[in-house]
């Protein structure tokens, strides 16, 4: 049986979301949840993997509640997770502007922006909690931007018509993360959190059908150890680094979620990836990552390419009538402000036509000449100065004089481990929060919503729902390293590490990662087709086979060894990539970040097929390279009725 001959298993019918009016469901769930007596909480150990916005806030909050938290991050400090790089802001339905915003409107915008592929109950809860997040962060001392009267400032973001985005200059993610890190630090000092930095989760321990611990490697000594708990929380982020080049941090990886998937957790909507339109283009083969620039630039910059193919004249020598402001031409009412997926695809199309600019023709101009003429250089500087500086530092070009060059890049993954309303995966006792789960953004995430979801999950949702799980499972048998299941997982992990070191081939971990990334970008990137995806699905097992024959990892396993860390992550990318392609192949509709070339309207727009695909695709692992089993969770829309998006 080939990988594409997947079976369809039983549908997912119980999401644990309560019934009743959508705005009462979260209250109802919290009331129905069993509680753990405060005196008993310290007897429960919870493992949290990751210290980004979701993990940091969850670890701190669970410890405040009295649980014993054992937390891990691969970085040298819990202050560095990639949430720190988020620039734009965080949405909240505070309606401080009196501009008609409400919880319901944020709920509506998020379901619609996700192209009707998210669960209404979850999204509504997210919108409700958004207001509490801002209160919490302000109390922690997060220095949000303020007006002269001392009240919080907001801005509008990502094409919505209200001003609900709270921000701290272009460093909102950093400030929110430091707030969570400081709360976590307080709990570490109090002895409630046992923190293991520079320690990477390599596998999940499931005993008697429940998540009971993890296997992790101390990245300094190389020692592989087991850790046990009553519940495990994965807050390990997304999997954008499958593409090699992305805006993710270099060491962000998919190992924790992929290993959990291999142990029985369903993986939902893996093909839903977000490609951000305003990134700095690559300059050559040495490129190690891509840098995003806030999409607020599209408010004043005009995007264009030359009308003629292969026009190599410098931009100022191309006269006005030989320029194609293609977004303004194709989408006259939204112009340069069309949603992320549409702007990205349009850029790809003009570059594929041979009209791209810059090295390799992989770029389009984002021109501020008109804005400077209209507003004056000073005003442009005040609004975008820090972004212009960043651009100049990286490219050595002055965007006040020469148009910026931008190109889309992989930025966020909406897919992730399938979770129910309680954020619990299909393995009892295993929870997934933040970007690691699939829950709230459907097929496309709106700007300034990632920070909101990470903190909602970590500060408010998980601490309420995990109570219920622990209260219902109060006396689990203790697990020790001698347990046969633990011995088996430990042996598998050690074998994998030893094998990576033993092959002693002639290719580096990076060379395989780059090859896989290029394949994924071409066939499972901005536009996907049946033929392309089949090509990728044929090629991935070949790369995997070659990997295990030719990989070269110097050094030993008993030391600080960054090549070994990298190689082990690439092992998992080589499996996850296959599932992403299969998911993209099976979903023969276009929706959100997933564009199938076969499914478009006569004028080239994405065509969603609600009759066939109004479900979340949750995949069950069988064996490496073997067809997984598809479980469908039907999506029901009671409040926001699906419509085809139109931006013309």
């Amino acid at each position: 049986m080939t990988y594409t001959d997947y079976a369809t298993g039983a549908p997912v019918t119980d999401t644990k979301a309560p019934f009743g009016p959508v705005h009462e469901r979260w209250d109802k769930r919290r009331f129905e949840a069993k509680l753990v007596n405060p005196a008993n909480r310290r007897k429960h150990t919870v493992i949290v993997v990751g210290t980004g916005l979701a993990g940091g806030s969850a670890g701190a909050t669970l410890a405040e509640q009295g649980y014993h938290v054992v937390q891990f991050c691969y970085q040298d400090s819990p202050r560095r997770a990639h949430s720190i790089a988020a620039q734009g802001g965080i949405n909240a339905a505070k309606n401080y502007r009196n501009d008609g915003d409400s919880v319901h409107r944020l709920f509506y915008d998020t379901v619609k922006g996700g192209d009707f592929r998210a669960r209404e109950s979850n999204v509504h809860r997210l919108a409700q909690i958004s207001v509490e997040i801002i209160d919490q962060c302000v109390a922690q001392g997060v220095p949000f931007a303020r007006e002269y009267g001392g009240l919080l400032d907001t801005r509008s973001f990502g094409g919505v018509q209200v001003s609900r985005t709270f921000y701290a200059r272009g460093q909102t993610g950093q400030q929110l993360l430091l707030g969570a890190y400081q709360a976590l630090s307080r709990q570490i000092a109090a002895g409630n959190v046992e923190m293991h930095p520079r320690t990477e989760m390599l596998d999940l321990i499931v005993v008697d059908g429940r998540a009971r611990g993890i296997v992790a490697r101390d990245l300094i000594t190389g020692k592989i150890d087991t850790y046990f708990a009553d519940a495990v929380v994965l807050a390990s982020g997304g999997y954008g680094n499958v593409f090699y080049l992305s805006t993710n941090a270099m060491n962000s990886n998919a190992t924790a979620i992929w290993r959990a998937h291999r142990r029985g957790a369903y993986f939902a909507n893996p093909c839903f990836t977000q490609i951000h339109p305003t990134c700095i283009p690559r300059t050559g083969d040495h490129q190690s990552k891509l840098t995003l620039m806030s999409e607020s630039l599209r408010n004043d910059g005009r995007i264009w390419v030359p009308k003629a193919k292969g026009d190599t004249r410098p931009p100022h020598r191309i006269p006005e009538d030989e320029r194609d402001y293609y977004l303004e031409r194709i989408y006259p009412s939204f112009g340069n402000l069309v949603p992320r997926d549409i702007a990205s695809r349009a850029a790809k199309n003009v570059c594929d036509e041979g009209r791209g600019v810059g090295p390799g023709g992989q770029g389009v101009y984002l021109d501020f000449a008109d804005a400077i003429k209209r507003m004056g250089r000073k005003a442009v500087e005040a609004k975008y100065g820090n972004l212009f500086d960043m651009y100049q530092r990286i490219t050595d070009e002055d965007p006040y004089e020469v148009p910026m060059r931008i190109y889309p890049a992989v930025h966020y993954t909406m897919g992730g481990l399938w979770v129910d309303y309680d954020l619990q995966t299909t393995i009892p006792g295993l929870f997934a929060i933040g970007e690691a789960n699939f829950s709230d953004h459907g097929a496309n995430r709106l700007g300034a919503s990632a920070l909101m979801q990470g903190l909602a999950d970590g500060y408010f949702v998980l601490p309420a729902t995990i109570n219920d799980y622990l209260a219902r499972n109060p006396h689990q048998d203790p697990v020790t390293e001698q347990h046969p299941v633990v011995q088996e997982v430990l042996a598998e992990t050690e074998d994998r590490i030893n094998l990576l070191l033993a092959v002693d081939g002639d290719r580096t971990p990076d060379s395989f990662h780059r090859e896989l990334g290029e394949l994924m970008w071409e066939f499972c990137g901005m536009a996907r087709s049946d033929a392309g995806l089949r090509k990728a699905l044929e090629r991935i097992p070949q790369i995997r086979e070659e990997f295990w024959r030719r990989i070269k990892v110097p050094g030993t396993g008993e030391e600080f060894n960054q090549s070994l860390e990298k190689a082990n992550r690439v092992v998992d990318y080589l499996e996850l990539a296959e599932l992403m392609c299969l998911d993209a192949l099976h979903r023969t509709e276009s929706c959100g970040g997933h564009f199938r070339e076969e499914s478009q309207t006569p004028d080239g727009e994405a065509a969603r097929k609600d009759e066939e695909f109004s479900y979340a695709a949750a995949w069950e692992f069988t064996s490496t390279g073997e067809a997984p089993v598809l479980h469908k969770e039907d999506l029901v829309f009671e409040y926001v009725h699906p419509t085809q998006r139109s931006y013309a």
Binding site: T61, E64, Q75, S77, P78, R79, R80, A81, H82, A85, I134, D135, Q136, V138, A139, Q140, G141, P143, R146, Y148, G150, L151, L152, A168, Q171, Q174, Q175, L178, Y181, Q182, A183, S185, R186, I188, A189, P197, A249, M250, N251, T283, G284, H286, Q287, S288, T291, M390, R393, I394, D396, F460, T508, D510, S511, K552, P554, G555, E559, F560, Q562, S563
Partner: protein
């Protein structure tokens, strides 16, 4: 570009270290400094040598992981993080010295990687506001004057990279500590713990073995985020105030 690199190699914390010399060729001026090191490492792996270990993650100047002393300067010749330094700042044929942060409170783990956990312990000593989840009042209940909010932000920008310590001839951590003290102490939310925060954080800083401050100002010159030298003065004022207040009690 063709370059000669002299790189600090040290097997582990207990081993003796030494500078090793390597040649790299075909370096593009558009590469970042870390991408240049990637090229060196690919070369080393293929020739069967161990690659040079260095800390890095976001590669966009915000996570604070990267930490190299380049030709004697923390983060190199430009005022930015190592990951945002580009090879156009160097010339074809240059010899470049690359070393780890050097400070007794930051022991070397391997090659260019150091242990900065002392910074985490300074934050744990008081670099937070006690506000358990759920206990927060409505965000607009306490307005914060814009000037205070901006002052807090300016200090909150610290990325905890440790360049200030690496640049200081005394290996002092005053700029790092003062950045957090000032961020939180100026805010009304931080007022209840204002005294204990500065006293506890400074005590922890001293306990970690960081050197004393002699106001040479190298820290603020090296800081990629522009935390001002005045930050130290402000913290000293906070510390004096807290000490006197504690004496009166």
């Amino acid at each position: 570009m063709k370059l000669t690199l002299r790189v600090w190699r040290q097997k582990n914390a207990g081993a003796e270290g030494a500078m090793s010399t390597y040649e790299v060729d075909d370096i593009s001026p558009d590469m970042s400094f870390l991408e240049m090191l990637d090229v060196l490492n690919e070369q080393l792996i293929l020739s069967g040598e161990e690659p040079v270990a260095f800390d890095h993650d976001c590669r966009e100047g915000i996570c604070g992981a990267c930490s190299l002393v380049i030709n004697g300067d923390a983060h190199g010749p430009e005022r930015t993080t190592t990951c945002q330094l580009h090879m156009r700042s160097f010339k074809d044929g240059d010899t470049i010295d690359i070393e780890p942060w050097r400070a007794s409170a930051f022991p070397v783990i391997k090659d260019l990687v150091v242990d900065r956990s002392a910074f985490d312990r300074i934050i744990q000593a008081g670099g937070y506001i006690t506000a358990p989840t759920g206990a927060a009042p409505e965000a607009h209940a306490t307005p914060v004057p814009k000037a205070d909010a901006d002052f807090a932000f300016e200090h909150a920008e610290c990325i905890g990279c440790g360049a200030c310590v690496a640049a200081c001839p005394n290996g002092a951590a005053m700029l790092f500590t003062s950045a957090k003290v000032n961020h939180l102490n100026v805010l009304p939310q931080g007022a209840p713990e204002r005294e204990s925060r500065v006293l506890d954080m400074v005590a922890q800083m001293d306990a970690e073995g960081f050197g004393g401050c002699t106001l040479t100002g190298e820290c603020a010159t090296a800081c990629p985020k522009g935390i001002p030298l005045m930050s130290i003065t402000s913290m000293n004022k906070e510390w004096l105030r807290a000490t006197r207040k504690a004496g009166k009690r």
